[in-house]
Symmetry: C2
Subunit: 298 residues, 2 copies
Amino acid sequence: MLDIAIIGAGPAGLSAALNGVIRNKKVEIFGKKPETSAIFKAENVNNYLGMPNLTGEEMIDQFLNHALDVGVKFNEALVSEIYDMGDYYTLNVDNDFVDAKTILVATGIPKARFVLGEEEYIGRGVSYCATCDGMLYRDRDIIVVAEDKEAYAEEVRYLQDIAKKVYLVAKFDVKEKFNDNVEVIKNRLKIVKGEDYFKKVELVNEIEIEAEGLFILRETMPVAKLIRGIEMDENFIKVNRNLETNLKGIYAAGDCTGKPFQVAKAVGEGLTAGLNIVSYIDKVEKIKVEEKELVSVK
Amino acid sequence: MLDIAIIGAGPAGLSAALNGVIRNKKVEIFGKKPETSAIFKAENVNNYLGMPNLTGEEMIDQFLNHALDVGVKFNEALVSEIYDMGDYYTLNVDNDFVDAKTILVATGIPKARFVLGEEEYIGRGVSYCATCDGMLYRDRDIIVVAEDKEAYAEEVRYLQDIAKKVYLVAKFDVKEKFNDNVEVIKNRLKIVKGEDYFKKVELVNEIEIEAEGLFILRETMPVAKLIRGIEMDENFIKVNRNLETNLKGIYAAGDCTGKPFQVAKAVGEGLTAGLNIVSYIDKVEKIKVEEKELVSVK
C-alpha cells in the first residue's frame, strides 16, 4: 500500500514526491515521460527563482535528477481508473492495480476532454480499459478509438482475440499488423450516440459506425472521468488554499488547478500539497491507533 | 510612481519582483538585508526542486543574484506606514515617501506584535515615525522604545532636539552618545496605558514611566499596523487563491500568508501574486484609457 500515489511527473508531481519521500512516506509517481511536460519544449525559462536562463529540457532534467536522487520512484504508466475503497483508493495502472492511501492529481493543463455524448454512456457501452471490460464483448462488434500512438497496439491485440469485429479508428497512420477482423479507419471521433445504451459513433465527415461497445484509448484521461465526483471549476480541479479537492484524501497541484501555468507555481503547490498529505496521513493513522486502543480497553 | 512596491526581500518578495520586472513593470523591493530571511541560517535545504543540498545562505545568494541580474531593485529600508491615496498607495520608507500603484506584502513569519494596550493608543500618543509625528511633542516629555538596534540612534538624535526629555528604553546596551536630556533605561516595554489619550508605559518589573508621547521603533511593523483594515486569519494575512487580500491592489505571499513555511511555497506564491498584480495593473490602466476616451468623445 502506497502512502501517496502521484499522477503526473511534471514540476508539481516531482515537488510533491520529493517532499513526501523526505518525510518518510512511501510515494510513487505514475505518468508519462517527463519529456512530455508542458515546460519541456521551452527555449528559455528565466522566472523560476534561483535557476536562471535554462531551457525547459535542462530544467526538467535537474528536477527529475533531484527527485530521483532523494528516492522518488517514477513509473511510466497511464492511470485509467481510480476506485474509492472507503479507507483507501485503488488505481488501475496499465491494467495492473495499485493501492494508495492518498492521491495527488498533478496532470498538467487539461487536454483530454470528452467528446459530445461520451460521458453519458460511460459504463453503458463506453469503456477506457480493455482488460477490465473486454470480456463483456466476446463475439461482438466493437469500436476502438486510438488517440494514443504509444499504447493502443497492445490493447487492440487483446481485443481482436475476444471480439468478432474491431473497428480501429485512429487519426494517425496505423503501421501495426492485426488480425483480419480488425478494420482500420483513419478518422476522428466526433459524437457518441445511443439511446439507453451506446449504439454508434459519428466520425468527422458524418460517417457513422455501429457497434456494441466503444473503447477510447487516450494519452491522458479527462480528470472528471478518472476521479468520479471530483469538483471542477470550469476545466480545472477546484482546490482550496491547502490544495484539497472536495474528496477526502485526494489533492491536486500544478497546472490542473488553474492559472498561472508556471513552473514556480506548480513546484510551490506540489510542496504544499505534499506536506499537507503527509499531515493528513499522520492524522488518520493516529485516529486508527486511538480507536484500536479504545477497543482493546473495552 | 512604482507599479509594484514589494515589502520583504525573502524568497516570496524576490520571486514576485523577478516576475514583475520580466513583465516590464516598475518594481522595487523594500526590506531588511536578505541575510535576515528565515531560511538564511539553514544548514541544508533539500526540498526546493532543482536545487539540491544547499545551505540557506547559498540558496538566498542564488535567489538574490537571479533577481538582481534581471533588474530587480532592492532597497534596504523599513516601511513604517502605508497610506491609502484612493488610486494608489504612499509608503513611508525610512522617513521618505514612495508612491506605488500596488503593494505586495512578503514580510515573512509574523514576528512583531503589539504589546498590551499599544493598538488602542495609535494616533493618540503612540507613534512609529519620528519624522512624521516628532514635532507634536516640542518641549514635552517622550518615551522612545528602541527594539531595533540598527536604526534607532538617528531617530533619537532627531527627537532629542525637539523634546524636553527623552526616556530611551532599550533591551540592549546603548553605546551611542546623546544629549543630556536623554535618559537611557535598560528594560522592555510591557504595557501601554492611558485613558482617552496615552499616559504612561509599564516596563518589566512593574516600573512605570509617564510621558506625553511614545515612539516605538521596531525592526518590523506588525502587519495590522502597517496596513490598516487588512483582514487577518489569526496571525496571518488572509488571502484567496489569487493571493489577493481584502484590500484593492494589496496582495500577500510567502510565510506571512500561513503554513507551510517553506521556500518552494514562498517562491510559488510570489510568482502567482506577481503575475496577478501585473494583470490587475493592466486592467486598471485599460479602464482609465477607456474612461478618457469616453470623456474626449463627449
